[in-house]
Symmetry: C2
């Protein structure tokens, strides 16, 4: 349905752009929900992206669209905008988005734009810019409702009607702070319609507040919001002063981003999504990741080269290289994927190294014996029983080693604080390839006495 | 931090269980947040899981814990519970969780438990049970606030204080329905503190409401909630009558589940997370997925067998099988992963088949030429120039074909409504293995004249 809707909107806009019906385009764009526009942009040519963007009249809508677009499309559009236009767009964005947006700009442009913005706005943004990327500080919103605990329900409702809080994006929780702005409690907006109006905040606020620190990794923050099913989590600085909130909509984005990153890393394609980038850039990003595999291949050349004399005598040994490598590679990917995803979702505890690895090892042996015996049985119809046994042992050992390496490597990496997703993909498959080939030829030459 | 916290809690509980300090355990459990308990259970033995569960006294906490646990742990705990206990736990769960919970029970137990529940509760659950798994209907909550449009802000606040709505889990939106219960508008709780109390709902409600239907796939629902940054989306039945809401916390779960499913499918390990299952069950789930790879290996045996005479003459041809297969396999995984994830996140439009595939093809050729020339250069130091050229062409064609197959297959599958994630993993890698080996030997025999 969402796909259908995108499709119709995109086709209509492309048709109108081709015809140059500017007035009709502007009308459609003013009516359509801002959230429906980013999908349209990714189907347009570079020059049409800029043209369409100019047809958005509302600055807030512009800001929303540009912050939801893929980075390369945003950059293209930004290049076509004057500093005044940029400043106006940024002023109309929620502050967390404007920070992400300014981070995309080249330094000189960023400084110029900050200089043109209203002072209160630019100070807020500059304050947020000091936090490191991918931390709670970098994704938090500095607008929230924080009141003192001696206020009554009635006072609170009056404050909420004041101008100060009208801009607050997600006014679902009322945070309670002490005289030093330290977080001491929380209440939901809901409470105020059910308690008598003279009740002071400290009588009905919840005193155990879940909070995060500004330097906490965004993935950790997301897990906390998900675990406790809350709509926003307060962020405190090193003095326990409340400085912002991270809202659930950003948490969704974090989870989706992190899942994409993990998937890409596991496949050995860097961590940024490369599809929308140019062919040249994609190639540059993907090239080094293939090097592990190349190096593995070179090592395999030397290993097989070492057995070349045997190969000359028994040339059909080469026939079984692909099946042995393939079976090892595939079970290795299974094991490493299960472990990497298990760690990411919290189903696997990195302390359980031996229980996880030994389980994978057991599964590797069982599946190895199954496929090894199956292959050996087929092979002995055409070749000698010694060949069949060599091939069977090759499959068993390759699959066993693969399950072991595939589960051990990510567990080990996670323990020494290296992202386990990087340990999967090319590195695991290359090491498995090398080990499989080595064991197979070693076993075969011994058994066949060559 | 979250990891630290889990670790300390888990260790404390394990220590106390070993000592049998029941009173202290019960005290800790009553104090701890229910959301912190599931992580503890996964580190306990099967019998200790049941014991610890019995120490939770609050039924609501019991319900929360059991619905957040992995399925095999839940099933273990459920087996140790009487029907009365089950009914009590289910009555204290949010209705979407109780539906998921009853779906796990064997049919006879489910019927018995439904029979023991209060009639209003069991009717609600039975109503939800009719919706198919993974649809909006199956994850929605039937409790929401729906009022008529002629009510004033003051009337609304009074209604909110009534008993009827005290149980509503996420009271952030006030939905407006007509006399036939059809959805006509929405307002946020926020509005009521800012509008004059005599204003009728229809004056300040938003008339364009984003809604979903009961049969919509949960992934689609999640994408809508994420796209429009809303906290809950109303669900309507075929008569446009509003029947429930899907809340943002469930949306987070959907995204995480779907990402895990995609990752597992891409690695060829089914779609359910198998780590926590027994070795026997894991093995059974993983075994068939390896068959594609096995079959691919058998086909490769025949292909190389076909060239056995050539191999006897030029035995070192076998040395390059691993590097050619490995390079093809890895770039194939890159391409298919980018396409599968791109489709899932909406960055790739399945209508753009040719532009996506031709881009991947171009990248495959560039990277293929790079690594092919590199390998050829190295090879010609030891072997003849003809061998070097054969190997180089082998790498180029293997990588080109891999990028083509790896991007084309998932795009094609998505178009004919087969999950593209299934098209990745074992199937793609096996076909690439076969094609690579075939092209390499074909080229080599022609060039070397054997």
């Amino acid at each position: 349905m969402l796909v259908e809707r995108n499709k119709i909107l995109t086709e209509t806009i492309i048709r109108l752009m081709r015809r140059g019906s500017v007035a009709r385009l502007a009308k459609i764009i003013s009516k359509v929900h801002a959230a429906d526009l980013p999908a349209v942009f990714s189907s347009l040519s570079v020059s049409n992206q800029r043209k369409l963007f100019q047809l958005i009249h509302d600055s807030e809508k512009k800001g929303f669209v540009v912050s939801e677009l893929d980075e390369d499309i945003s950059l293209n559009i930004i290049e076509g905008l004057s500093l005044e236009e940029l400043a106006e767009i940024i002023e109309n964005m929620p502050s967390d988005d404007s920070v992400a947006f300014i981070r995309m700009l080249p330094q000189d442009k960023a400084d110029a734009v900050l200089g043109m913005m209203k002072k209160t706005e630019s100070e807020e943004v500059e304050g947020l810019l000091q936090y490191k990327d991918d931390t709670a500080g970098s994704i938090m919103i500095p607008d929230f409702i924080a009141l003192k605990e001696n206020m009554t329900a009635k006072d609170v409702i009056e404050s909420l009607q004041s101008k100060e809080y009208l801009d607050v994006e997600m006014p679902f929780y009322i945070y309670v702070v002490d005289e030093k702005e330290r977080l001491v409690g929380v209440s939901s907006l809901r409470q105020f319609v059910v308690v008598p109006s003279s009740t002071p905040l400290h009588n009905f606020m919840m005193k155990e507040v879940i909070s995060v620190t500004t330097d906490m990794d965004q993935e950790e923050v997301a897990k906390i919001v998900a675990r406790y099913n809350i709509l926003a989590v307060p962020v405190v600085d090193e003095d326990e002063k409340m400085v912002g909130i991270v809202t659930v909509d950003d948490v969704i984005d974090v989870f989706r981003e992190e899942a994409t990153e993990d998937i890409l890393k596991m496949a050995g394609v860097g961590e940024e999504f490369v599809e929308t980038k140019s062919i040249g850039r994609s190639t540059r990003i993907r090239l080094p990741w293939l090097f592990a595999s190349f190096l593995g291949g070179i090592i395999a050349i030397f290993i097989i080269g070492y057995f070349e004399e045997s190969l000359k005598q028994v040339s059909y040994l080469a026939l079984f290289i692909p099946v042995i490598m393939g079976m090892g590679g595939n079970i290795g990917i299974q094991s490493s994927t299960i472990v990497v995803r298990g760690i990411a979702t919290g189903r696997i505890n990195i302390r359980d190294l031996w229980s996880v690895v030994s389980k994978e090892l057991a599964i590797g042996i069982i599946l190895g014996v199954f496929y090894g015996v199956l292959l050996g049985t087929l092979v002995q119809f055409r070749y000698s029983i010694d060949v069949a046994i060599s091939v069977a042992i090759g499959v068993v050992s390759s699959m066993t080693v693969a399950a072991l390496v595939g589960s051990f490597m990510p567990m080990m990496f996670a323990r020494i604080h290296i992202d386990p997703a990087v340990a999967t993909g090319p590195f695991v498959t290359s090491s498995i390839d090398i080990l499989s080939v080595l064991i197979y030829f070693q076993v075969a030459t011994i058994l066949l006495g060559i």
